[in-house]
């Protein structure tokens, strides 16, 4: 997992509550054997005018011009601004995979669904919960000026607007630590590598047959 450093990115607004994981990545794309490449199908139903099929080349599909991510002013967006209960529905880890693959590193919303919350952090995406009013203000700001960017300072837990206003947010200390240091679950476990090796040695001595291969 990449280390999460302080950055400043273009904001794309998705003005819609209860965006579920099926909307984020529809179920026909779950049959893939990969965890990358979901970006082209992120928000597939909103983004394209036809029905997407797995494995299809998306470059010639008809785009829905009204959908924000298709508008030039939001090109290269890294921050998604959303509404209440973002990420509800099934537990598919494909949802954060798709967001990440598309290029989003942060989602800001008034609230997030539980499982999605876990899955997103596991995959290096920072979810920032702000109050309804703050989110409203950000929507207004994005609407008002093209190329609207936000600075995300995870270390100090603040979102900094172009006019220099800082919005504080809460994040669990453990998750923050993992993001800042680029540690996923595996990375964290591997911090105990020595303990695992020591255990393995002892275990092998006590019960060598557990390590045996057929002749």
């Amino acid at each position: 997992m990449k280390k999460f450093t302080r950055f400043d990115g273009v904001v794309a607004p998705l003005d819609r509550a209860n965006v579920d994981t099926d909307l984020i990545i529809p179920k026909q794309f779950l049959k893939s054997i990969k965890r990358t490449g979901f970006g082209v199908n992120l928000f597939d139903e909103l983004r394209y005018l036809d029905e997407g099929q797995p494995g299809q080349d998306c470059s010639n599909r008809p785009l829905n011009p009204d959908f924000v991510l298709n508008q030039p002013r939001y090109k290269g967006a890294e921050v998604l601004l959303a509404r209440r209960n973002f990420g509800c529905g099934s537990s598919r880890e494909h949802a954060p995979w798709a967001l990440e693959d598309f290029g989003f590193r942060v989602v800001i919303a008034p609230s997030f669904a539980d499982i999605f919350y876990n899955n997103a952090f596991k995959n290096g995406i920072l979810l920032i919960t702000l109050s309804e009013e703050e989110v409203d203000q950000l929507f207004a700001g994005v609407e008002a000026s093209e190329g609207y960017r936000l600075e995300i300072d995870l270390e100090n837990q603040r979102v900094i607007t172009p006019d220099g206003k800082a919005l504080a947010f809460e994040v669990d200390a453990f998750r923050k630590h993992c993001l800042l240091n680029g540690l996923d679950d595996i990375g964290i476990t591997l911090q105990d590598e020595d303990a695992i090796r020591a255990f393995e040695q002892k275990h092998k001595q006590a019960r060598p047959w557990l390590f045996r291969q057929p002749a």
């Binding site: 595996i186 476990t189 060598p208 047959w209």
Partner: protein, 483 residues
């Protein structure tokens, strides 16, 4: 201080580190891999530029997607018609080659359903921790091994670290005491247990199955029982080690030999719950009261004895139960109070990781011998759990008995257990199935699954409806369990 349960012992033997947040790192001795839940795990490793921690802890085989007709199988991977299934199987092959993991490929005689293959090879040993990206991994608990079904991220975690992040469960003991009646099998025992405690009865617990009726089961029977622990809500099912376990393992390819065997056996003998061990919950069933079981609904707990009838939803006390029973009867196309023996079948499936081992096939063959599948049955199929089971069955002439009776004799795989390959139920079709899940659509869209033992499935194939195996002539199924 009271003694330890079998689960406590296995947990303590594998505890690498207890963390402050209540989770623990548990060392994993064996990981079984198949094509459906492993691709993204390997991909994750690759993306993070990590290597598997210990290659020889892993063993792979494709099972969920493989076709089961001889014609398709003769073509190897290219016999797989569905492109997505094909990619999954090929990806498993490629990953195993790339990383150097041992794999039994599609036409290797040792290929089969992971939960049949592991024990058959002795790759599952008492005292091991076993994981697999499949919820029926509890099967391996029959050997006094601590076996967990896990998700794809966890598969990757185990590949990379040889550890699983786990939380200790509570201890439950399910005792089945007494002697099972003739024609009553391990499948009937576990269905009766689920009927008793419900599909959430074991949630949060590791269940140890014990008592004289469990001890009298063969290893195949014990695996059938542990296999369905998850259907009782428990991720882990366990049975203590005894002579039966040790005899089964002797001379298996992955089992220890010579001096190591002696040392191992001495160690395995300790894998029983201490007499003074404390369980958080104990449930006891009387073996004599268990009759052959048939599930009538869309959850494994919706089950009753062969002499019983479909319940009347109105009779249920609880309103939620009333609603779920009404919904289940509607889906299953059954009437309240209908006799179980009046349920007519369209298809019969003998197979799956619950009941596709040699003993299961012997039991079914006893019933099939010299009989004919009823004309009203559109398809009756027998799918051995592995290439080696198939070979053994053929050596015993079981394939001939089935074919003569009108059953199709297939190649090993999961097949119609979850209908990921071409073997499926049509909408509205009733199927007597030896598998483990009767959820809506599990065996095909609109399909109606009835879970039964192999002998009961064979008997239903011949009669065209459910019959009590105990009522068949003495040379048939009534002696099935002596096999």
């Amino acid at each position: 201080m009271s003694g330890q349960t079998l689960y406590d012992k296995l947990w303590n033997q594998h505890l690498v580190k207890q963390r402050d947040d209540g989770t623990a790192l548990i060392y994993i001795d064996r990981q079984l891999l198949h094509e459906v839940t492993s691709p993204q795990a390997f991909e994750g490793l690759r993306l993070a530029k990590r290597k598997p921690w210990r290659l020889d802890a892993n063993l792979a085989t494709p099972d969920h997607n493989v076709p089961t007709t001889l014609k398709e199988r003769a073509e190897g991977n290219s016999g797989i018609k569905d492109p997505v299934s094909l990619i999954q199987v090929q990806t498993l092959d490629d990953n195993c080659v790339e990383y150097g993991i041992e794999e039994f490929r599609i036409n290797d005689p040792r290929q089969g359903i992971v939960h049949v293959v592991g024990p058959e090879q002795g790759a599952t040993l008492p005292g091991m921790t076993v994981v697999c990206g499949d919820s029926h991994t509890a099967t391996h608990g029959a050997f006094g091994a601590l076996a967990h079904g896990i998700g794809t991220s966890e598969v990757e975690h185990v590949l990379a670290t040889q550890c699983l992040l786990a939380q200790k469960m509570k201890n439950m003991q399910v005792r089945v005491e007494g002697e099972l009646g003739l024609g009553v099998t391990a499948k009937d025992v576990v269905l009766a247990i689920i009927g008793e405690i419900g599909t959430a009865g074991g949630t949060g617990y590791a269940i140890e199955f014990a008592g004289s009726a469990i001890a009298s089961l063969s290893m195949e029977g014990r695996m059938t029982v542990c296999n369905m622990a998850i259907e009782a809500g428990a991720r882990v099912g366990l049975i203590a080690v005894d002579d039966t376990t040790i005899e089964y393992l002797a001379k298996r390819p992955f089992a220890p030999t010579a001096e190591q065997w002696e040392a191992a056996v001495a160690d395995w003998r300790e894998l029983v719950s201490d007499p003074d061990a404390a369980f958080d919950k104990v449930v006891t069933l009387k073996a004599e009261e268990i009759e052959p079981q048939v599930s009538w609904g869309t959850s494994p707990e919706m089950v009753t004895g062969i002499s019983g009838q479909v319940p009347d939803p109105k009779a249920a006390q609880d309103e939620t139960v009333q609603r779920s029973h009404t919904r289940a009867l509607e889906y299953m196309g059954l009437q309240p109070n209908q006799k179980i023996t009046d349920i007519k079948l369209d298809k019969v499936f003998i197979g799956s990781c619950t009941n596709s081992r040699i003993e299961d096939l012997r039991e079914a063959a006893k019933v099939a011998r010299g009989n004919k599948v009823a004309d009203s049955i559109k398809l009756a199929m027998v799918v051995p759990g592995s290439g080696l089971v198939k070979r053994q069955a053929e050596a015993e002439g079981l394939d001939k008995i089935f074919i003569d009776a009108g059953f199709e004799w297939r190649e090993p795989g999961c097949s119609m257990c979850l209908a990921m390959n071409a073997d499926k139920l049509g909408a509205g079709e009733h199927c007597a199935s030896t598998s483990n899940r009767n959820f809506e659509g599990r065996q095909g869209y609109g399909g109606r699954t009835h879970l039964v033992s192999p002998a009961m499935a064979a008997a239903a194939a011949i009669a065209g409806h459910f019959v009590d195996v105990r009522s068949l002539p003495a040379n048939d199924a009534t002696h099935a369990q002596e096999a």
